[in-house]
Symmetry: C2
Subunit: 361 residues, 2 copies
């Protein structure tokens, strides 16, 4: 076991630590310390459970924790209220009480479902995140957003609910399919674009080693990403304003995911294409110059990510899907734009014609 | 319109006012002031909507609020996740955004369902309570507990979620069936038993006038009840300890409701019988004397409430139903007992044999 970094997300009485390193899921790791009650329910999926469930169960056994597991189908299309009901049914049937802990073992989808289930079971039980994908390590495990999809929109049902701790084992990235590693890198690149030009330059230096899964560099990328996200979330936990910059590319990206059918484009892939649309829009608005587009596209391509939306989506489909996005304010679509590389802002005051030019015909 | 009382529930950034009076639901009332966004969804049921929905819609119209309504079936048996989904579906279909307000118009069941729906829709939208029953005016509209039932237990799925305001129109009690008025009085009497012997004595003086629906006295009973509940909730919002005293009679009562089938015994009726069991247990534990039992039984009977559980429930059924109650801690049933009239406490350290003697054979 090697803990490379420990980061505190400072949310007052809801503060929690993030541990980043290798081999953190076994019994010597920080898991036992953060199981408050005498019982736990591990939520995982059919892909991740065969790889890591046994180690986690052993760690819980060593701590004398009574435990159950729920193994869900893998994939965004299973991020539904029905999955939450499955978890709640198991919690009740196995008589888990208010002191129990729900442990999410898997990627962002598992974290979102399990976190939401933890938030609603008996109006809230303990929650611990063991993110096993790069995307969930740098994004969904920080900030307390949990929830599930509705047929008419992503993340329409959920809660803000903070975990007791997050344990990000970069060793689990060894088994991650290359496409999913790339999808995670899309969000890592996003942090550079919205908040930290130096980090963006660091990524330009190290992207090849990150794609080759250098563990120490991955741990550092996870740390910096979590630190940026934590800082933004600390300033604006419930997304009154600033926090929305974390959604760079997401309004476009959610539209891509919705139109293509959830699960066909990975979230990170849709965000990569969406960020390029946001950059295009920022250029049309005269905020940034072509050089940003070139650098962003080059970095995303080196990470094997798409830099344009799928050809089959029309502008009309984009607009329709975007109109019910959560970031819509009284029917007026808000966009996250860049005013420089490393500086994003939320705009409701842009030229609608330029948005139409940005979108496909 | 007459506002008799205005009470602030002081929960820091989640503080909100309770207005108590007559004729508060029409357009001149405080409703418009608390609708933050430009749209609202009114949630009501088939019993209450014909009586008050039009007045509420008119009040919203006067304020230029775009509005929709969801009318649910009446009754505790409809307090399910399916009802929450119905509300969320309507919110999405009618494109309500994060600035929308969910308005609960009805009793505790409607408040619990609508509040939970408000808490999960887009991870939380505004929520306003218009409680139309005595029970909901004195109990469920204060404290932020929302949620729905699971086939295996009451309120197993929910959230702590505070409203923007509560408007308790005692005029709406004029149309309340006598049995439901009595059920509300059970909770009013509870506040005297757990926290305020003087209020209990005031109720002994005024119970006949309250049963006869004297509006000013009802407004005063609602005010004192809400004030006691607010004080307890302020001290312990998330029920770490003290707040549990509000559950006097509820562990027994929930068991009665569960075994009899939700909706057959009213919540307040089950609580009344449950409080008598808690008093019996307190006497067996040597905490209080017979005089408390006599006064409590006399007052409950004058309010037309049961003072014993239904004969068909066995002790074994009680114990089984109580074992999955939320207040169970690691399998050990906690009870709210009285150490004096006006002073309740939570006990896990009681004689189990005395509990068995308290329950039917």
């Amino acid at each position: 076991m090697k803990i490379n970094h420990e980061l505190k997300v400072d949310l007052g009485e809801r503060a929690y630590p993030i541990y980043i390193g290798r081999g953190l899921l076994d019994e010597s790791g920080p898991l036992g310390r953060h199981i408050a009650g005498s019982s736990a329910l591990v939520v995982s999926n059919t892909t991740v459970a065969p790889l890591y469930l046994e180690a986690v169960q052993q760690a819980l056994d060593e701590n004398g924790t009574r435990q159950d597991a729920v193994i869900l189908e893998d994939g965004e299309q299973h991020k539904t209220l029905a999955a939450v009901e499955t978890i709640v049914d198991r919690l009740i049937e196995a008589r888990h009480d208010r002191q129990s802990t729900v442990i999410a073992l898997g990627g962002g989808v598992i974290g979102d479902i399990a976190g939401f289930a933890a938030s609603v079971y008996q109006r809230g039980v303990n929650f611990v995140q063991l993110p096993t994908t790069l995307l969930s390590q740098v994004d969904s495990s920080v900030g307390g957003k949990t929830g599930v999809n509705h047929p008419l929109g992503k993340n329409m049902i959920g809660a803000f609910y903070q975990p007791r701790c997050v344990i990000a084992d970069v060793g689990s990235l060894d088994t991650l399919p290359a496409r999913e590693l790339s999808a995670g890198l899309a969000e890592v690149i996003k942090y550079g674009l919205i908040y930290d030009a130096d980090f963006f330059a660091w990524l330009e230096q190290n992207i090849d080693a990150l794609v080759a899964r250098d563990a120490d560099l991955l741990a550092e990328a996870v740390l910096v990403s979590c630190r940026i996200k934590a800082r933004v979330v600390e300033l604006d936990e419930r997304e009154a304003g600033l926090r929305a910059i974390l959604n760079l590319g997401h309004t476009f990206g959610h539209a891509i995911e919705a139109v293509m059918g959830y699960g066909n484009w990975l979230h990170g892939e849709a965000v990569a294409a969406g960020m390029m649309l946001a950059i295009d829009m920022s250029i049309r608005e005269g905020l940034i110059d072509e050089a940003v587009r070139k650098r962003a596209a080059a970095l995303l391509e080196r990470a094997s990510l798409p830099v344009a939306p799928p050809g089959e989506i029309s502008g009309a489909q984009f607009l329709d899907a975007m109109a019910i996005d959560k970031k819509t304010l009284d029917g007026n679509i808000k966009l996250v734009l860049l005013r420089a590389l490393g500086e994003a802002f939320v705009s409701g005051d842009y030229d609608r014609d330029k948005l139409l030019q940005t979108l496909p015909a």
